[in-house]
């Protein structure tokens, strides 16, 4: 009862203060100040957000630097003939603002994991690898491999320039929507965990309802 009364009094006092017209500050100061503060806060927020959206930020944790980043380095997404490469956020953070915010909120779990050292050794990481990978597969399956398609557009794929087996599979399964990129390309950028019982290839495409 006492706590309730205290809460009510505090809220009322706050509202009274908040609702009262300013006695010393001018309208110009308040509007312009609010405008400038808005710019500063919004800009600061976006700058901080973008700073967490860089590869240097990701690999500043040894968990990422020693495990997944090391593995990425040998793949085509890091080193290739033309030198165009994907960084961590290109595949792991959605590009659209709303989805990005959602993912960033989910990422607070990763901060938790960092603080409580869930994967701070190679052994612990390997133990959790299947679970971690399954999260990413589920995400890419649910959004029809959106992060792949940010760069790899089926309409721009020249199938005649692909190896014939790749062209065959893409024409028969990707184009028809029977399978999405991640169904066949699990482990494209990192080593795979024990895949016993995990469907790969066209079986993976058939095992879940297609988003099309």
């Amino acid at each position: 009862m006492r706590a309730w009364r205290w809460l009510r009094d505090t809220a009322r006092a706050f509202w009274r203060q908040f609702n009262r017209p300013a006695t010393h500050l001018s309208l110009g100061f308040l509007t312009l100040g609010g405008f400038i503060a808005g710019i500063v806060f919004w800009g600061g927020f976006n700058t901080a957000l973008e700073a967490t959206n860089t590869e240097t930020f990701c690999v500043s944790c040894h968990e990422m630097n020693d495990n997944v980043f090391e593995e990425l380095k040998t793949t085509i997404h890091y080193s290739n003939r033309s030198g165009v490469r994907a960084t961590c956020p290109d595949c792991h953070v959605p590009h659209d603002w709303t989805d990005k915010m959602g993912r960033k909120m989910q990422a607070s779990k990763e901060v938790w994991g960092k603080i409580f050292r869930t994967i701070d050794t190679r052994e612990k990481f390997l133990e959790h690898r299947l679970e971690l990978a399954q999260h990413e597969w589920a995400r890419l399956k649910a959004n029809d491999s959106l992060e792949c398609r940010n760069c790899h557009d089926y309409d721009s794929m020249d199938l005649t320039r692909q190896a014939s087996r790749a062209a065959f599979v893409h024409r028969n399964y990707l184009a028809t929507g029977e399978a999405t990129c991640i169904d066949c390309h699990k482990g494209i950028a990192h080593r795979l965990p024990d895949m016993t019982g995990v469907p790969q290839g066209v079986q993976a495409g058939a095992s879940l309802p297609s988003p099309h």
Partner: protein, 176 residues
């Protein structure tokens, strides 16, 4: 005349400032990158040299490596170069993970997946254990594909191969 001088002096001052700033910036010297010398050989065509490492060039002469051969990636089955040869892989297998955790080859070449990918299925013998019992999956002793099946590059053969298969031998004997 004085009006005309003003922009000129401004320009001069600007130039002097730019020059002094450029002189101040102490930049680390760029690492010197040398263009590789063309591959050499003491006996003619370096690609045909059997001594691949030094190519018979004296040890006090610097050797540049030959261009790396590219893996053939045309998806056409090759003939065998000797009897019982394991079929060679007619495509590149860059980044294919074949280890305890996963076998990328079996994604397409497993007997259950071969039809949907139009890939040649693995022979049934690969599903048999050493007691000739058939297993549901590829046998552990056949699991590591590249132990026998390998890719081919476009490198020049260093030694000529005079292999004739038995049909050819019989045909030539019959012709005599």
């Amino acid at each position: 005349m004085r009006h005309a001088m003003k922009p000129v002096s401004c320009l001069l001052a600007g130039l002097a400032l730019a020059l002094s700033l450029a002189a101040c910036g102490e930049r680390a010297p760029e690492p010197e990158v040398k263009r590789p010398a063309p591959p050499i050989s003491a006996r003619g065509n370096p690609a045909q040299e059997i001594d691949g490492m030094r190519r018979h060039v004296p040890v006090d002469v610097e050797i540049t490596p030959l261009p790396m051969a590219t893996v053939e990636n045309f998806d056409r089955t090759r003939g065998r170069a000797y009897p019982m040869q394991p079929p060679t892989i007619p495509h590149s297998i860059d980044g294919y993970q074949v280890d305890l955790n996963s076998n990328r080859c079996m994604l397409c070449h497993a007997r259950s997946a071969a039809a949907s990918f139009q890939a040649p299925p693995v022979s049934v013998t690969h599903y048999m254990d050493r007691d000739d019992q058939f297993l549901a999956e590829v046998s552990p002793r056949r699991y590591f594909c590249v132990q026998c099946h390998v890719t081919q590059t476009d490198a020049q053969p260093l030694v000529a191969n005079g292999f004739m298969d038995i049909d050819e031998v019989l045909r030539s004997e019959r012709a005599q």
